[in-house]
Amino acid sequence: MRPIELFTQVLEVAAALLAAPLYLGWVNQCRAWLQNRSAPSVLQVYRGIRKLFHKDAIIAAGASPLFRLAPYVVFGTMVAAAAIIPSMGTRLPFATAADAIALVGLFATARVFISLAAMDIGTPFGTLGARREMMVGFLAEPALLIVIFVASLISMTTALPLISERLATQALSLSPSLAFTAVAFTMVLLAENARIPIDNPATHLELTMIHEAMLLEYSARHLALMEWAAALKLFNYTCVGFALFIPWGAAMGEAGPLELLGAIPILALKLAVAGVALALIETVSAELRVFRAPEFLATAFLFAVLGLLVHILLGG
């Protein structure tokens, strides 16, 4: 392991930790602009997290240790996921330990813990949110896996940095299978990060919320960690999307520090564009009824499988 690889690893995790709230703030700001509201500052998410860290935590009576543990586990899995995803460089020492399928597993672990913690207190809203989260999760996961399988089939590996590297270096070609899977991935991203067609991140209206309902009982540092983890999750998903569909710009292979330095503004640019796109999708679409969510996710699954089939038949 060369020192530059270790440095890349540390840089990526640090960047994910610091940039995730900024990215979420940027999406919120774009949304506000598009909806003709006066926008909050991009730093608003940081302020929220800082404020929560300074407060005293209150834990509901009867909460089990799992309830206290969950924020740390969720946050930890998201940081671990950030370590696998090649957002700036593809030579990540940590990524050899876990491939893209393990990454899906990490996301699933976070989901299980957050749902268990939501049910732990026994309030009806927590249980409702947890059950809806599990419904969305079990439908979104197969679609995400198939998206990863298609990319793996094209690049003949399941390690995310290698997939990204091979996709970036292969001859430029029109690939309908990647186009289909990109659509499927976007739909999964929206569903998994509680974005608009499935869940509204800004709502506190009890009957329609999913993610917020699970966090109702949390306060202070636990809530701060949960919100930071949610921002990290969005950041991670976006970076997985970059790695699979627009891998150009990251430092490939045995890159030196200069290439790594060059990858930072490119990542920032990609994130800025992705934030605008995300805000645009959320502005033009309406939130679906919860019972229409399976239809939305079935469509995502269909797109992913079509991508797989088209790849097998047309080899593109």
Binding site: S175, P176, E295, L314, G316
Partner: protein, 222 residues
Amino acid sequence: MSVASFVLQLLNSLAAMLLLLSFAMLSQRRVVTLVNFLALQGAILCAATLLLAWRTGEINLYLSAALTLGLKVIFLPWLLHRLIRRLDVYWDTDTLLNIPGTMLVGLVVVVFSFGLAQPITALASTATRSAVGIAVAVILLAFLTMITRRKAMSQVIGFLSMENGLFFGAMSATYGMPMVVEMGVALDVLVAMLVLGVFFFQIREQFDSLDLERLESNEEEP
């Protein structure tokens, strides 16, 4: 990247879009949107035919592209829109199977048709032979659309979509049927459409609905 391989990739992408549109038609409940999808499918078919004609230099293909444009992109959708307005059938609400279920059956159908097309693909010598599987899938998905719908209107649209699939299959397996056959098929479709249009009015006069299930139940009464 050479021009030839780029054209082939473009053709493959168009084929993939045809398949996608078939699924869109399978899941669509609004008849008006269904007709628009049919027109779009015709337009993609026309573009694919033009590309192939340019690539192979066959005059026949230019003619059939023009035929596709005139008949399937402009005339038939216009006729269908007019019929929808006059018959006042905008929705086909009750499909026989729920939408996600239909989609899953559709996926199985696609896998089946890819397997089915394997021997044809092995026999054909054209550059576009790998798209034969997609053509078979489009045909069978159109079949599925006809099977799962109750209203006569959606069934006719399924029928037309099936014709698109057949046309695409012939194009990718052998660079198009002979011109006489193609003209004959086009005329058949046109006449069938006109006759069915008259039928729609008759069916509605008799049963006050375009639901074809009523035809079956009526038979049993003395």
